[in-house]
Symmetry: C2
Subunit: 211 residues, 2 copies
């Protein structure tokens, strides 16, 4: 009986997909989704057109894969924060949330921040990305909300409904990414300090751990 055996292992196959995604990431970060051609991605990956289309069905599929990595990559970085005990203060939460994209930026193949702006813009018109953005953003807000509620349950006074304050935290991150991508400042340190100082002044600190 004749059995067809995979030419290369699944691991190798997954590695090839990663190679293509990294190339696409670089191109998309540099020129956005619609100004990079498949020829750009193919050239950056050092492969041929036919090879790339063995691993991805279309350009759209590559876009969705990269955008998905961007979303889940950043969201995944936040996970640790939400498990902390005792619950950190809003000032600490804000400081942490601002730090993460900066750390992620240093580890990505292409500049994360312009790519993030491209993903947000694309999510306003691509239904699949819109659903993903809704899911990720909703989960992030909900986890921040729960963190605030836990913080309140330790006897602290939030003064603002937790679910209303969460989007403000998210804004502070999104706005920082936007301004950094657009004009390259303010610096992460300065910005984080200002935000933390604001929350401290609002009685939503301290950075001092309760204990």
């Amino acid at each position: 009986m004749i059995r067809t055996v995979p030419k290369v292992s699944d691991a190798h196959r997954e590695q090839r997909r990663e190679q293509i995604l990294i190339a696409a990431w670089k191109c998309f970060a540099r020129n956005g989704f619609h100004s990079t051609s498949m020829a750009d991605v193919i050239s950056e990956a050092g492969l041929s057109a036919g090879a790339v289309y063995l691993y991805f069905r279309s350009k759209e599929e590559i876009i969705l894969a990269v955008a998905g990595q961007v979303f889940t990559g950043i969201a995944g970085r936040m996970a640790e924060l939400f498990e902390r005990e005792p619950p950190p203060s809003p000032a600490e939460v804000a400081g942490f949330l601002i730090e993460q994209p900066v750390l992620a930026r240093a580890q990505t193949p292409g500049d994360l921040f312009p790519l993030l702006l491209a993903v947000w813009a694309e999510a306003t018109r691509n239904p699949i990305l819109a659903d993903l953005a809704d899911e990720i953003l909703g989960a992030l807000r909900q986890q921040i909300t729960r963190l605030f509620e836990r913080w309140e349950s330790t006897g602290q006074d939030l003064r603002i409904p937790a679910r209303d304050l969460a989007p403000v935290l998210v804004s502070l991150v999104q706005g920082f990414v936007t301004q950094q991508a657009l004009v390259g400042n303010p610096s992460p340190e300065t910005y984080r300090q200002s935000v933390v100082a604001l929350f401290d002044a609002a009685g939503l600190g301290p950075a001092q751990p309760a204990g």
Copy 2:
């Protein structure tokens, strides 16, 4: 002597340009810059290809014109705030800055917020737009900074350097626009109240208008 007389007045000519820009605005807000074809703009304007190219040299020129309107339109709305006497508190400034894009959104031909995301994304790779963004954002920050300094000079305590707090205010607006464009919430009222409450709690209120 033969003199060439304009067939239509300059006013009419400017009106035609506006007609095309409004059509382009709608298309760009719906599909972004690079996913709308000139055929889309031409069709939306109810004109012919040849006619459109009588008033604009290229698609790029239309993109720059629309993006310029978006930038200067929003920046222009803020102008009144910076003239106020006595200087408004940071809480009032924040509330005002958040309100303006919402008011502008109701007056634009197409949805302003997705278009704004597209403009920001495009500004990260188009040098001309990058310069414009740098100029507009820089001016906005500087005017906010000056407003804070004036507020401090009335004896109030800002607790954070004015030039460091300004980008935080900008972030709160950018983040709100981003979240509204992505998931349609939070509502302007809820968001503005939360931000104002935060600044009030930080001693940067009151939101009560002077007068």
